[in-house]
C-alpha cells in the first residue's frame, strides 16, 4: 500500500539522517567533554598564571551565555583548574532572556547580562555580590570599566567585553560622510538608513543628536526625542535585530548608513572587502558593555567566580579581540592582541574608554517610556 511506502520513506529518511549525524559527530557531546589543554596557558601573559594544579572537585557549572563564548579557548584556565567539573551552556539571544529566565527561577551559576540589564537583577535580588579578591586578574581590569559593575559599594557584575555603537557607512555609496549623530537626518540618506531595534538605542541616538544627556532626560526632552525620532523615519529603510542581518544589508548595498552598528560589523565587512567607514561622531560613540554576574540561587559560587577569572585571563581576552573584534577589559591582554585589531578598535587610544558613552542601567519607568516611544516610532511609517 502507498501509505506503507511513505512510512518506509520517512523511516529511511530518519535512518539516513541519524547515519549522517553519526558519521559527522562521533562524539557530539561537547558540553560534557572539557577540552584538554594542549598548551600551557598564556605563557606570554605578563600576569602571574593562576594555580595550574587540577582540583579534584566534581560538579556541574551552568552558564546562561551568548553562543560563541562556549569555545574552550575562553576558559582554558578553568578547564585546567577543574578538569572534573562539567560545564554546560544555555544560550541567549536577547539580553532580557537572562532576566526572564532568572525571574522564573531557572538554575544557572553564571549569567552574562549587559550594562543596561544587570542592575534590575540586583534590584530584584536575582544576583549576588562577587568578591573581587577571588579574581586573580582583577588588578589588570580597566578601573573605569570595573567601576560600572559596582552598586552600593559592592561588585555585582564583572564587565568582560564591550563594543561601540556608532555610525557605519558604505563610503562607496554615499557622497557626504557623516561626522555627527545629527547628520543621520541628512535627506541624502533617505530610505537607506538602518536602525537597531531597541528603544534604548533610539533614545540615545536622538538624545546625542539633540545634545542631551541620554540618561537624564526630562519628560519634555523625552517628547523632543520622540519627535526627533519620528523625523528620522523617512530616512530609515529598515530596523535590524541581529548583526548577521545588518551585515547582509550593508554588504548587499541596501543600507548605506547603519546608525548604530557594532564595531564587530565594521571588522567583518572590512574582512569581506567592503568599502566601509566607521564614524567617530563629534558627540562621541555610544558603547555597550557586557559582563558576568552570579545568580543568588547558584550553589556553585566559587566555581562561578573561578570561571569569571578564566574568562578574564589575558589569552581569553586576546582571543575575544582577535577573533570577534570586541573590546576587552583586561589591560594585560593588550600585548596579545594583533596590532591591526588594536588600531581598528582604537584600543591604542588611551582615552577611548572615557570618550565612549557607555549604556547605563535605567529605571523600569525609563525602560517602559522608551519602549513605548519606540513602539510608536516603529509603527509610524
Amino acid at each position: 500500500m502507498k501509505t506503507r511506502k511513505l512510512w518506509m520513506s520517512i523511516c529511511s529518511l530518519l535512518v539516513l539522517a541519524s547515519m549522517f549525524l553519526a558519521a559527522c559527530a562521533p562524539v557530539a557531546t561537547p558540553t560534557t567533554a572539557p577540552a584538554a589543554p594542549t598548551e600551557a596557558p598564556a605563557a606570554a601573559a605578563p600576569t602571574t598564571a593562576p594555580a595550574v594544579s587540577g582540583s579534584t572537585q566534581t560538579g556541574e557549572l551552568v552558564l546562561l551565555d551568548w553562543s560563541g563564548y562556549e569555545l574552550p579557548e575562553f576558559w582554558k584556565q578553568f578547564a585546567t583548574q577543574y578538569p572534573n567539573v562539567k560545564v554546560n551552556y544555555s544560550f541567549l539571544s536577547e539580553s532580557a532572556e537572562v532576566y526572564a529566565k532568572l525571574q522564573s527561577g531557572v538554575n544557572a551559576d553564571l549569567v552574562h547580562p549587559c550594562s543596561n540589564y544587570w542592575k534590575i537583577m540586583v534590584d530584584e535580588g536575582l544576583v549576588q555580590p562577587i568578591d573581587p579578591a577571588m579574581l586573580s586578574h582583577w588588578k589588570d581590569i580597566n578601573p573605569a570599566l570595573a567601576k560600572q559593575g559596582e552598586f552600593n559599594g559592592k561588585q555585582y557584575w564583572i564587565p568582560w567585553e564591550w563594543g561601540f555603537e556608532s555610525i557605519l557607512v558604505r563610503s562607496d555609496l554615499i557622497k557626504t560622510v557623516p561626522t555627527s549623530w545629527n547628520d543621520l537626518w541628512n535627506p541624502e540618506y533617505k530610505g537607506h538608513i538602518a536602525l537597531y531595534d531597541s528603544g534604548e538605542s533610539g533614545h540615545v541616538i536622538a538624545a546625542l543628536a539633540l545634545g542631551l544627556d541620554p540618561w537624564a532626560t526630562t519628560p519634555a526632552q523625552d517628547e523632543q526625542i520622540k519627535q526627533k525620532l519620528l523625523e528620522l523615519m523617512p530616512n530609515v529603510l529598515t530596523i535590524w535585530s541581529s548583526q548577521t542581518d545588518l551585515d547582509q544589508q550593508l554588504a548587499s548595498g541596501d543600507v548605506w548608513v547603519a546608525a548604530n552598528a557594532w564595531n564587530a560589523s565594521y571588522i567583518k565587512l572590512l574582512g569581506d572587502g567592503a568599502k566601509v567607514e566607521y564614524i567617530d561622531p563629534k558627540e562621541g560613540r555610544a558603547g555597550y558593555l557586557c559582563g558576568f554576574a552570579v545568580p543568588t540561587k547558584s550553589k556553585n559560587y566559587e566555581l562561578a567566580v573561578a570561571m569569571i577569572d578564566a574568562y578574564l585571563a589575558p589569552d581569553a581576552q586576546a582571543y575575544l579581540a582577535n577573533e570577534y573584534g570586541y573590546g576587552i577589559v583586561n589591560n594585560a591582554a593588550s600585548a596579545l592582541v594583533k596590532p591591526e585589531t588594536m588600531k581598528l578598535l582604537a584600543l591604542d587610544d588611551q582615552n577611548i574608554i572615557s570618550r565612549t558613552i557607555f549604556y547605563k542601567f535605567i529605571s523600569a519607568a525609563q525602560r517602559q517610556a522608551w519602549t513605548d516611544v519606540w513602539s510608536e516610532v516603529k509603527t509610524s511609517k
Binding site: 502507498k2 501509505t3 511506502k5 511513505l6 520513506s9 536577547e94 532580557a96 532572556e97 532576566y99 526572564a100 525571574q103 522564573s104 534590575i120 530584584e124 536602525l195 531595534d197 531597541s198 528603544g199 534604548e200 523615519m233 530609515v236 529603510l237 529598515t238 530596523i239 535590524w240 535585530s241 542581518d245 547582509q248 548587499s252 548595498g253 541596501d254 523600569a364 519607568a365 525602560r367 517602559q368 519602549t371 513605548d372 519606540w374 513602539s375 510608536e376 516603529k378 509603527t379 509610524s380 511609517k381
Partner: protein, 283 residues
Amino acid sequence: MKNSRRFLTLIGLPSIYLFLLFILPVGLMVIFSFREGTTGAARDSFTLDHYITFINSRPFQRLLWQSAGISFLVAVIANSLAYPLAYYLAFQAGSQKNTLMMLLIIPTWTSYLLRIFAWKLILGSTGLLNSVLLLLGVIETLSPILIYSRAAVMVTLIYVWIPFAMLPIFSSLERIDRYLLEAAADLGCTRLEAFLRITLPLSLPGVVAGFFFAFIPTLGEFVTPLLVGGAQGSMYGNLIQDQFMRALNWPMGSVMSLSMLLIVLVFMFLLTRLGPLSDLLGL
C-alpha cells in the same frame, strides 16, 4: 455506560495534557495581566492599569487592526494559491499524489529563518529579481524593490504558509465522493459549475482550517517583519515581543496578547454564526 467510558478514556489523556501544559499557562497569563508594576512575576497586587493603558494607546490598537487585516489578506491569498495545488493533487495527480505531496512539504523542513534570508537574496537590491530586471532593461538602477516593505512581509508569509494551507484543503478534497461530480455532470453541470456547486462547498471545511493555519500564526508573527519588513513592516507581534523582551513589562505583554486572542476568538465566533465550529471544520 460503555460508550461514555470509551469516550472518556479516549479524550481523557489529551484533555489532561492540554490542561496541564496549556490551560494552566494561559491562566497564568490572565493572572499576569492584572499584576502591577512593569517587571516580573513578583508583584501580587491587582490592577486594571494595563488594560486602561492598552485602551488608551492608539498605536497599539491601530497596529492590532492593521495586523489583523494583513493576516486576513495573507491567509486568503495563501489559501487561494494553495487550493489549485490541493485540487491537482487530489484529482489529477494520480499515482504521483504522495510523491508530489512530499515534494511540497520538504521545503518547509529547511529552517524558516534561512528561507527568509534566501528571500532577501531574491528581493534585495542586488538580488536575483533586480538582476534579472536589470538584464531585461526593465529597471536601470539597482534599488531595493519589494523588500523592506509590508508587501515583502506578505509575500514571504504567503510563501511560507502555502504548504500548510494546502494540507487541510487536500484532505477535504480527498473525501469528496467522485460519483458526486459524475452526478453533477449527469445533471447538466459544466465542469466549472460542478466545481462551484459541488467541489468548492464540500471542500469548505478544509479551506476554513487552512485559513486558520495561515491567519493565526501570521497575527503573532514577529521574525519575518523584522527581517524583511523594514521600517514600515512592524506587526503587532513585534510590539508584544517588545513588551516582554525590551520593556520587561510582562503584564502589559499579557494584556496585548490577550487582546490578540480576543480578536481571533471574535473571528472564530463570527465564523460559527455560519454553523457550529465542528461543522465548519467538517467534523
